[in-house]
């Protein structure tokens, strides 16, 4: 039952050109244009080609994850979620499928930007390191999936889309996913280090450098997950109560 719903929703998602455009094409093109610029410096302890690869992979992943969560808003407004609630499919499964699909949408950008880095700059990581990188870049989407669902369940479609874009842009830019945080003034750097986007990319930077992600970063990701999870749960209950 849940599998049928997952298949149905995956098909719909794959056909949505916005996802491909913003989460895959956008970061790949950005990488191809800008990854050559900062050569010389080392960023996050890595060769810039690798550091920027991970930043932009994270950028695409967060874009995709948030976007999928926010589509819930349209489905709610269209009465689709209400229609599903009068079928035997439990409401909890609907949320599970949404969260799963949101987090899975992290894979295409990470893989695509990785390929671009490989082709353009001969960036080579071992297969084992790639496996860890993909796994962490997927697992690390949890706070963003929850944030997307919070917006999807909490906001009307008119507001959800611009809010989603704004939140994404602020988190991505200030988190150092586009321009490296190392170039920020000190106060902004400190802010970046508190954001989930920076700590999410840090999972990748550490992995590429052959290190385990620092505990402080993991704790910050967990803390953001708890906050977004609480907001998402509140928004979900409120929307369900309204029917």
């Amino acid at each position: 039952m849940m599998y049928a719903y997952l298949r149905f929703e995956s098909r719909r998602l794959i056909r949505d050109p916005r996802l491909l455009l913003f989460s895959v094409l956008g970061p790949v093109v950005t990488y191809v244009i800008f990854s050559g610029w900062s050569s010389g410096d080392r960023l996050e302890g890595l060769d810039p080609a690798v550091a920027v690869m991970i930043g932009l992979a994270g950028y695409g992943a967060v874009a995709g994850v948030l976007m999928v969560g926010a589509t819930v808003s349209q489905e709610r407004a269209a009465g689709w979620l209400r229609q599903l609630r009068v079928t035997p499919l439990p409401a909890s499964r609907v949320v599970t499928v949404k969260a799963l699909l949101a987090s899975v949408s992290a894979f295409p950008p990470v893989i695509a930007v990785g390929l671009a880095a490989r082709i353009q700059h001969d960036v080579a990581l071992s297969a084992g390191r790639w496996a860890v990188l993909l796994t962490l870049m997927w697992a690390g989407t949890v706070p963003f999936a929850l944030l997307g669902l919070a917006m999807g369940y909490g906001l009307t479609p008119q507001i959800a889309q611009p809010a989603n874009f704004l939140v994404f842009l602020v988190l991505a830019v200030l988190g150092g996913l586009l321009a490296p945080a190392a170039y920020f003034p000190e106060a902004l750097q400190r802010l970046a280090h508190a954001l989930p986007t920076y700590r999410y990319a840090e999972l990748g930077w550490s992995t590429a450098a052959g290190q385990a992600p620092p505990t402080a970063g993991l704790l910050i990701l967990v803390a953001w997950s708890v906050v977004f999870g609480l907001v998402a749960a509140w928004a979900y209950r409120r929307s369900a109560g309204r029917g």
Partner: protein
């Protein structure tokens, strides 16, 4: 107990200061086609939502096949077509009804479902690119997919044209003839009159009338349409739809009719003045739901 599909007892529900339902008692027998009739704001959609477990009743109890609504829905015994529901991109008609089938334990065969809902020729089309009436049929197919024992339709025909409506009701009737229970809400009296075995009239959250269409119609009393002739020939008036007799009182013509609304519609545009309709179904409905004659 076994022959009861839905039982509402003393249901009350408020939304803020608005009392949507006020002590509603209603029992729906299995295998019946029941119309929930009332003007906008009468509480129809709230009553339907409560039966489906989407809204909790403030007071009172509700059972569907002796279970809670949520349990009945979970068991696949209920299918529903919700009011004002839209469509989601991007899925084909076949994918949408296939999804519905796969959510129910004992669905209708796909071909039969597509045929019954009038979707065979639309199966490969995108749901979000259909006309309003066609999209509505997809939602009907979705509701019907699980062969539910209770089919609930909230204002189902709003987006349909006349031909689509007739086909739709024909389908609903043949479904009910197989022993399924159908409950539909409407604010159109003639729809309730033509297609239900039983009409339950709601107004301001209360049940104001309950009976067969004939009984509800009888509440209306005699029905006449009167107007000034202004010298126009009146020879063909007896042939108008619904007309039983024509009486000419000087320049005033009084038609006695089975269906004042249809007769009234047929007269429209002929320029008669002083048109007066008494005891029409709509007038009866109005008097039932507002508590005063006019």
């Amino acid at each position: 107990m076994n022959d009861v599909a839905v039982r509402l007892s003393g249901i009350g529900r408020r939304f803020g200061a608005v009392r949507a339902l006020d002590g509603l008692d209603l029992t729906i027998e299995r295998g019946s086609v029941v119309a929930l009739l009332g003007p906008n704001g009468a509480g129809k959609t709230t009553a339907v939502s409560i039966m489906l477990g989407l809204t909790s009743p403030g007071t009172g109890t509700v059972t569907v096949f002796g279970q809670t609504p949520a349990a009945a829905v979970r068991a696949g015994r209920v299918g529903a077509m919700m009011q004002d529901a839209g469509v989601v991109p991007v899925a084909t008609v076949r994918e949408v009804v296939e999804l519905a089938r796969s959510l129910y334990p004992d669905p209708l065969p796909l071909d039969r479902l597509l045929h019954t809902a009038g979707l065979t020729d639309l199966a490969g089309r995108r749901w979000d690119r259909l006309s309003g009436g066609e999209a509505q049929r997809v939602r009907f197919g979705f509701a019907l997919a699980g062969a539910p024992e209770l089919l609930v339709l909230d204002e189902p025909t709003t987006a349909m044209d006349v031909a689509a409506r007739d086909l739709f009701w024909e389908t609903v009737h043949s479904y009910a003839a197989d022993g399924h229970t159908v409950l539909f809400s409407t604010h159109q009296l003639h729809e309730a009159d033509r297609f239900a075995d039983r009409i339950v009239v709601l107004a301001a959250g209360r049940l104001v009338a309950d009976g067969s269409p004939a009984e509800i119609r009888a509440l209306a009393g005699g029905r006449t349409v009167a107007f000034d002739r202004d010298g126009t020939p009146a020879d063909d008036l007896a042939g108008l739809p619904g007309v039983r007799s024509v009486e000419i009182r000087g320049d005033r013509v009084v038609l006695t009719t089975d269906d004042a609304d249809t007769t009234d519609a047929a007269l429209a545009g002929r320029g008669f003045r002083g048109l007066e309709v008494t005891g029409s179904l709509d007038a009866a409905f109005k008097s039932l739901t507002t508590g005063k004659d006019d």
